[in-house]
Homo-oligomer: 344 residues x 2
Amino acid sequence: MVDVLTDLATAQSLAERLLVTAGVPAPAAAQQAELLLVAEAKGVPSHGLLRLPRLLRRLGNGTASPTNTGKHEWLSPCYLSVDGEQGLGPVVALRALEAVVPAAERHGVAVCSITNNNHLGMLGFYAGRMAERGVVCLGMTTSEALVHPWGGTEAILGTNPLALGVPAQPHPLVLDMATSQVSMGKVHDHALRGVPLEPGWALDAAGNPTVDPVAAKCGSIAPFGGAKGYGLGLGLGAMVTFLTGAAYGTAVGGTLDDTRPSNKGDLFILMSGGGHSASEYLDQVRGSRPADPGAPVAVPGDGARARYQESVAHGIEIADELWRELTALDTTQDAAQPEAVLAE
Amino acid sequence: MVDVLTDLATAQSLAERLLVTAGVPAPAAAQQAELLLVAEAKGVPSHGLLRLPRLLRRLGNGTASPTNTGKHEWLSPCYLSVDGEQGLGPVVALRALEAVVPAAERHGVAVCSITNNNHLGMLGFYAGRMAERGVVCLGMTTSEALVHPWGGTEAILGTNPLALGVPAQPHPLVLDMATSQVSMGKVHDHALRGVPLEPGWALDAAGNPTVDPVAAKCGSIAPFGGAKGYGLGLGLGAMVTFLTGAAYGTAVGGTLDDTRPSNKGDLFILMSGGGHSASEYLDQVRGSRPADPGAPVAVPGDGARARYQESVAHGIEIADELWRELTALDTTQDAAQPEAVLAE
């Protein structure tokens, strides 16, 4: 496989142009593009530019709305319910969070629940942004059924990720984790490269353990951490369903296809402090004795932050095929030129 | 080892009498005893009667207060801050939750943060009770440092459990999980019985992997689920610290000793519905194809509920030594008689 090396600004402006061409107002296009590029820069390409062609198709066929930003209904002074109206995931979510932050600061806690919203992208982005504003953020979203229960064999759970941001100096704690053992994107990547999966990652369609990525694509992924990870994933999914009224289980669609409205649910809980800074504690953890003297203990978010800085300095690598697809779509001006083409 | 078989009511009234003798008012003694006995009945003896002798010593030497129920301060209409005043954990927490439920029902969300409170016991008890009242409950508490970071070798994290209750019919989802691979109670149990640990459970004091439970007692326990479980445990701990102002890391004390005031933090987030019931989804998960045809897929809380019903029907087994210790303390009347003594 060949990758293209480009800088963040070039890739972001390409994504923005494509979104604007699809009818998205410039500020919203910038928000959507930023989410995709931050994921690339932090080393999570499954939430990066890979998702842009599908999003453009959804905008093109009217499944996603280029202009809707969500209908806000305050159920109480600290509970905002949002109908995302099939707007762009980050545009709807960021507008909702901006509305909810003052409520959390005033009342100590505030919630926004969101339905009918497109894919949010990297959930940790929101948790990190809120934590930098001084607010604790718990973020949850449901997804297509890809994961089997502990002791089960059918894909009936979403990858149901959890993000948590806790304010601290010099950097917040930013946790962003799916409750699956691996992502379906990783299974597809192994299939593409012909590399077997690790044992315990997946089952085939008949429910038998498999290390064949092609068989796993039609099967299911394991929850992370055994019974506990299963319980966490199901619990988060059930909670989001109960609070948002979103679809559940195998009825969830719209983040991995071109044509179905997005019917999953998103939930954010924001809380403002009353205790004391966690900075000293996090530094104690970072400074504790590592297993490998060359690899200091990291706090959630440290690794992604380091990768982001590396990407700002040295650019990001995009799969050649994806880059060609995106630049071919870019009819507004001469196609963007990557800095280099890398053989891998 | 020999176990004593007793019924729940006999054991509960023994615990209540001992607490009343220590100066605890009868209704509070009943609450504290219920928490201990529910844990026994659900098969979690580490949170059961084992903790009563220590609690009685704490009451006896003035470290715990038999009568304080917590000082309530409403920071907003939906944020209750509680100074537990070293009262009994369940007494302080249940009174706080009763105060917060109406706020959650009215505003959609409400929080209570608690400091200076003794050990809560089984965290799932609270989540289950709230879910039965129709309210989603996220419960968190911090603990003594027993767990090492992912990539680290020192005990600097608490076992930082998470409980989640989601209303459903006929039974709520009740998740109750520590973020450690195993409990330190389990390590002590292996040491007592001379049974080696499983690889990956623990490190010795020097930070090397060990299956020797005696070496592990002075070392540290692994987080569950690798880097994700570590991130979750540290994230929950940092969040509770930030919101409550409780102690963190190696400074936490008072739930495993007789003499230190309890300085950990407790946090509950209650939310009331706006979506739809999760009952149908949970039943779909329960009805999905199991890996073992004889073992249907369970939803968090199902196993504990079945064990509880079994205990109500057939009694509970208490370690003979512990039962002797408790009955010897019971000077108020003739010692309670167990139904039978079992050789194991």
